[in-house]
């Protein structure tokens, strides 16, 4: 359970997270959009910190912010020289809003039911505070999660092959064949 100042931080970070993610999808400039995404991810890292998952928070920043999104930004900067895009899909906008509202309302209903019945609070009693979470993550990865871990490495291998296949053009293929 969060206490005292943590509650304040939770709401602050959650609001920031929602705010930035909305800006991410509504920004017209691709670079701005990427930056808002970065801000969202940093807020999420903050939420992880509140959960005392320091390792996950650090990795979140290191991998997503420091790695993946730098590449995003790199590609965006390389491809587009900063023109803002027109709004497309205008005729689907109304449908999008309707679906989003519906989804939002149903989430609201679902959460309020869970709140009313204290569902999560009843379950929470079973949980324990995890210390040394870096070691825990490492152990979990190599015991409980070893199979998905290895499958994920296959996914990465395929991703490399895919990237090479899609990026290599015919001229280069001639050289290599």
């Amino acid at each position: 359970m969060l206490k005292g100042i943590e509650v304040l931080f939770f709401y602050l970070l959650s609001l920031l997270c929602i705010f930035f993610s909305m800006l991410t999808i509504s920004a017209r400039n691709a670079v701005h959009s990427a930056l808002f995404l970065i801000s969202t991810l940093i807020s999420v890292a903050g939420l992880f910190l509140l959960l005392h998952a320091e390792f996950v928070a650090g990795v979140q920043i290191l991998v997503y912010v420091g790695g993946v999104l730098v590449l995003f930004l790199f590609v965006i900067m390389l491809v587009s020289s900063g023109q803002t895009t027109r709004r497309i899909f205008t005729n689907q906008f109304a449908i999008g809003v309707a679906v989003a509202t519906l989804l939002g309302l149903s989430f609201f209903a679902a959460i309020s039911q869970v709140q009313a019945t204290n569902y999560f609070r009843a379950r929470e009693a079973k949980q324990e505070v995890v210390t040394k979470n870096t070691e825990k993550v490492g152990l979990q990865l190599y015991t409980q999660a070893v199979l998905p871990f290895e499958i994920a490495s296959l996914v990465l291998l395929v991703a490399i092959v895919a990237a090479v296949r899609l990026a290599r053009d015919r001229k280069q293929e001639k050289i290599f064949n």
């Binding site: 400039n29 670079v31 701005h32 930056l35 970065i38 320091e54 390792f55 650090g58 990795v59 920043i61 290191l62 912010v65 420091g66 790695g67 730098v70 590449l71 930004l73 790199f74 900067m77 390389l78 020289s81 900063g82 040394k132 870096t134």
Partner: protein, 341 residues
């Protein structure tokens, strides 16, 4: 619970460390100019104050009073934000770096680090990885082709060398079994045969070299200073910057150098440990500073000696040499760890 005296202790520590860091940065700049002068057989700045010792002050004043220019076609918000994004993480990193063991002042036991995080190493890496955005965004928002090229180069370069950097540290983590920087240092405390210190540099020299090379690349210093290669890109990502904004990039670069040096010290050179530290804990920060100074000297020496890499050489070196060697090093060190422990 957060009490007033802890809060005051924090604030004092932050203030002192910040002051020392800024002063150090200013004098590293002077040191660099004097040393470069010495290497190139000229004098360097020696007019302001004795031996030019007041030169940093003069430089600072000059930066403050210069006209601040924002290019007309620039993305204004990002143009202003970029130097801050570069500077803030660079300065924040120092907060998790321990520079000594506990000392007693005025009857209070004070640990010589601003804060201790159990994933300190990760925090340092996370924060330094944020620094790239300052450079990349500065390049993009200036709306100038030289800046853009500089920004692109830096993001590619930093991503490439960060892998090698992280991999080279894995060996240290295997030895210490912790991501806490204090633990990492304490593990290097004892001696072999009574006189060889148990520093990681002796057990994993390959890891140390990889770390050193990658760290120099991460700080965009010669011979990896392609983001600001003046012979090709005018001044790279900060071509359009002037006045305090330029100074912020400048400070960020030197703060990153200090961080990289202190990381190398902590991870491989036994941090604040040295002779008689156990009896006089105040010696700790002094040893630590001397070790950092050694690395800073190395930085400057390299700048005076080596030519710049070509871009394709840089990439080939990073991906085809440094990363495979770093991976091999991880395996090697893991094997070594099995033998020793």
């Amino acid at each position: 619970m957060l009490t007033t005296d802890i809060l005051i202790e924090w604030l004092v520590k932050i203030g002192v460390v910040f002051f020392i860091l800024m002063t150090a940065i200013a004098y590293v700049v002077l040191l660099e100019r004097r040393l470069l002068g010495f290497i190139q057989m000229r004098l360097g700045p020696n007019r302001v104050g004795p031996f030019g010792l007041l030169q940093p002050l003069a430089d600072g004043l000059k930066f403050l009073f210069k006209e601040d220019i924002v290019p007309l076609e620039a993305d204004k918000a990002l143009y202003v934000l970029a130097p801050m994004i570069a500077l803030v993480p660079a300065l924040m990193t120092i907060s998790v770096i321990p520079f000594g063991d506990k000392i007693v002042i005025l009857g209070r036991e004070i640990a010589l680090h601003i804060t201790s995080v159990n994933v300190g190493l990760l925090v340092v890496f996370a924060l330094t990885s944020l620094g790239v955005y300052g450079i990349a965004l500065a390049g993009w928002s200036s709306n100038s082709k030289y800046s853009l090229m500089g920004g692109l180069r830096s993001s590619a370069q930093l991503i490439s060398y960060e892998l090698a950097l992280s991999l080279s540290v894995v060996g240290v983590i295997i030895f210490s079994g912790s991501l806490d920087l204090v633990e990492v240092v304490k593990q290097q405390n004892s001696f072999w045969l009574g006189f060889i210190p148990k520093w990681n540099i002796f057990t994993q020299p390959i890891g140390f070299l990889i770390f050193l090379i990658a760290a120099i690349a991460e700080t965009n210093r010669v011979p990896f200073d392609l983001p600001e290669a003046e012979t090709e890109l005018v001044a790279g990502f900060h071509t359009e910057y002037s006045s305090m904004k330029f100074a912020m990039f400048f400070i960020a670069e030197y703060a990153n150098m200090v961080t990289a040096s202190s990381m190398a010290t902590l991870l491989f050179l036994g941090g604040w440990y040295g002779p008689f530290v156990d009896k006089f804990p105040l010696l700790g920060p002094i040893y630590f500073s001397l070790k950092i100074l050694f690395f800073l000297f190395l930085y400057i020496w390299l700048r005076g000696t080596l030519p710049r890499f070509r871009y394709d050489q840089l990439m080939r070196f990073g991906w085809k040499f440094l990363i495979p060697v770093a991976l091999a090093n991880v395996v090697l060190v893991a094997g070594l760890a099995l033998l020793i422990y």
